[in-house]
Point group: D2
Chain length 283, copies 4
């Protein structure tokens, strides 16, 4: 069996589902998953479809025919992924280690279908962790007045290893526009608040000051506006007046780990689609 | 515009989605929602689809053609619902009033697209509530040794008003097999535990005794085995050692109200399908 | 048995708990609940204590002695409540009825230990609900350029009935400063977002636009800064890209009802204490 | 400053709180935390108290005086812990690695105030993980007909290192009575269901079969009756009909990790007290 995952968005029109599913059927494909959504306001159609084909089917041919027969007709933006080499994921960290331990533990447990060719950090602190998990560690200091040097080094490393996805695992630096543009909707950050509340620095301190009864975490794609990119996943935890800022930070660690891990998993299983600074999450 | 909701289950086969969606497209229908699921273990295909047709379309003709062209070919069990008269819902109660207040409040707020031709009770206590909401109230005592009389009266009332759905809003009597068979998958009960834990009587007492840290509620279709029918919805609430049985009962009220209301809403919007004593819940 | 509830806050000092509990013991009281909290940053001590005394105990005498022996010594701000007449609660509404139905259903079920001498509204729409629950309904239009007239009428009604607590059950008007000052920490509002996100008008519209994956509701005491008062309770519900604004509004109704009800219950059971625009919630 | 944590339970009586807090005050202690609970049904008083004393205070003397003046008077069962050497925790594993990775990640991050002198396993599979975290790994096969050999080896290892707490991190063997008796309320297990639902083997399979809409995990102290010991912590996750058993197992991993970690943290911070097969959890 060979399997494809098809992601589509296009102007809404009558007959899209019938056309796509008939196309698959005509090519002897067996649809094992279909989910669709229409943004009624903007009249945009979104679809995710998984299909299995007989072993001998040439996916290249199917792609070509899909482009000609379906894609052009409905003015689709589409990707057809085949189960192939896993995504190459780079992890950026600073000094906090809990998200890094969590990701690497999941990776070693076989929970994440990726390779991790590099961990990049602006500090040396977490190097021993990278080493104990046998992952190459690249220290890239980000110094005042020399940020462009760091950026160039980042791009060089990422391109050399043909990185597909960047995960900011509590990386405490602003990502410069060039790097964001080189990885559109392919940089996932974890922010330690239920955005849009407490964007920016020190969200736990702000949450404590405001006296909220819940704290949260948000994983999102990085865009040029800080903490304002498309949200992939959020979750929360109840707190009370008796929790100090230190307690919030500690309680928040589990939230951050889980919300980031869910975001990564959704991305690598091709279940996210971005439109108008929002995500469609297929389930 | 006229709108249909189509619910299907049948042996899994290749091409079902293409056939159904092409059928809709050929009849000038516009699919506005599709969700499907395959029970891989039992090889059963399930689908829910909503479609809009032009005003003049005769749904009767479409139904006939669907039966002949699609339904028979794939050995489908299917229903095609048209937006018509709302469901007729009967509420059974005993002495607890919180679920009744909740359902009637939602009904008056326009949240539930049903009519409520009757409230049936084995006690007179809640009659004033029925009256203040202008709903006919039928007291039907269920007496030892005379349970068959009550059953006959129930069936008579339900059939006279052509009731579609029965909601047991903390009704403290066992439903006899005849009544269950007359309303298969059309009687919704709320049980005050996260089933299968604490089935049967006094679940809050059992939860207290066991020292659980969460309590729950479960709405399910009633089958002949007590508290063992297909689960529609469940939710939970955190508790601690400091909660007395009385506290659990009070805390549980909100759970019961919400979990029952969600179960009712899923049923009346045709989003539930029962197979093998489990529900498929389309979202 | 006669029972007291004691709420205290004062500068933190050594020996407060020992002094207070010994005082209770010396007066033959039996402590059945004690909870305390120290705001370490501001060095403030908070305590809530429930105690039972023999029937014949004169609480007036105990109060006097507590003031002289304990209160003054530790510069306490304190209230000693005796189980007496229930609080008098006024409900303000506009046109949304779901919170009103919820509160009145709970009230009639015996869940809320209050009397409700009045429902005040700037519209006539919900009058029939008030009538069906036998609660006096006072329409007080809030007209442009004549807001002071409305305010005067509000104060007159509230003072005439000696109202203790005002609940804004989706009341769609800004409360003027005079009314807020007349009821400090005694006006509870429900805001339909997880504050501080989406303060102000149309939070569900903003939540939809931002693409959040959770929505929330917040009950808080009203202060002069809009939606910025001390938070009593918050809760959230998960949503997805597929939910329209209308869906959010509908889903949010249950959140609003529950979060407001919890806020009311905490207040009337004397479990809230406000300090520095934050609440201490004793459990 | 030297700090104590005091845990008490005794028959309920008037004046206990006053006596204890006055005792602390008289010895120049500053109470920084107090929480108490009365089991009204069984008339048992429970208390947890933290207090700071001046550096020079001899805790041994205080203990002696507490025993004579307070403990005997109220027939207390009590422990007075001083901040000293961290607990010695042994981890038992089989082949599942996710809980082990999670615990070791937290340990290395400084989240758990323990030492981990050993990981014991009935298989060799997880030895490399132990090594990468520099923890001694002891393989102890548990063979049919030779279980007593394993038990003896376990006891020998545990006693040699003076282990205080055993954590069963998805250890797939029944713990024999002798070992349980040697570590009463000091063996924490993680069970992958919301107990008492789905006790015993293969809870995810049972959950799938029953069609529940929530799955859970439970951390509890091990007693001789399987999966029936005092519950420390529980949490749940929502699922749907579309989740296969494999999905449940994967989704459950995060629940297991978090619920076990919370159980461990509550135990090592002396916030749990067991009575009548239930836990009191001080917060």
């Amino acid at each position: 069996m060979s399997k494809i995952t098809l992601l589509i968005h296009c102007p809404d029109a009558s007959g899209i589902i019938a056309s796509v599913t008939s196309f698959i059927y005509d090519h002897k494909g067996n649809i094992i998953y279909i989910d669709q959504y229409v943004d009624v306001e903007n009249k945009i159609f979104f679809m995710r479809l998984e299909s299995e084909f007989a072993e001998k089917t040439e996916i290249g041919v199917i792609k070509e025919q899909f482009r000609n027969k379906i894609g052009e007709r409905y003015q689709m933006t589409w990707q057809m992924y085949t189960a192939g080499a896993p995504l190459k994921m780079a992890i950026f960290v600073s000094k906090y280690d809990h998200c890094l331990y969590d990701i690497l533990g999941r990776y070693k447990s076989g929970e994440l279908d990726v390779t991790i060719p590099m961990i990049i950090s602006n500090h040396e602190d977490l190097k021993p962790i990278a080493e104990s998990f046998d992952i190459p560690f690249y220290p890239v200091p980000v110094l005042k007045g020399k940020k462009e040097e760091a950026e160039a080094r980042h791009l060089e490393l990422l391109q050399k290893e043909k990185i597909d996805l960047i995960v900011l695992a509590r990386y405490m630096q602003i990502i410069p526009p060039n790097l964001i543009r080189a990885f559109p909707n392919r940089i996932i950050n974890i922010h330690h608040s239920f955005l849009p509340a407490f964007a920016g620095a020190k969200p736990y301190h702000m949450a404590y000051k405001r006296g909220v009864k819940i704290i949260g975490a948000t994983s999102h794609y990085v865009t040029e506006e800080l903490d304002a990119g498309p949200i992939i996943e959020q979750d929360i935890s109840r707190i009370s007046h008796s929790h100090s800022i230190k307690d919030l930070i500690l309680k928040g660690r589990d939230l951050e780990k889980i919300v980031l891990a869910r975001g990564i998993k959704l991305h690598i299983s091709r279940k996210t689609l971005v439109y108008n600074n929002k995500t469609i999450i297929f389930i």
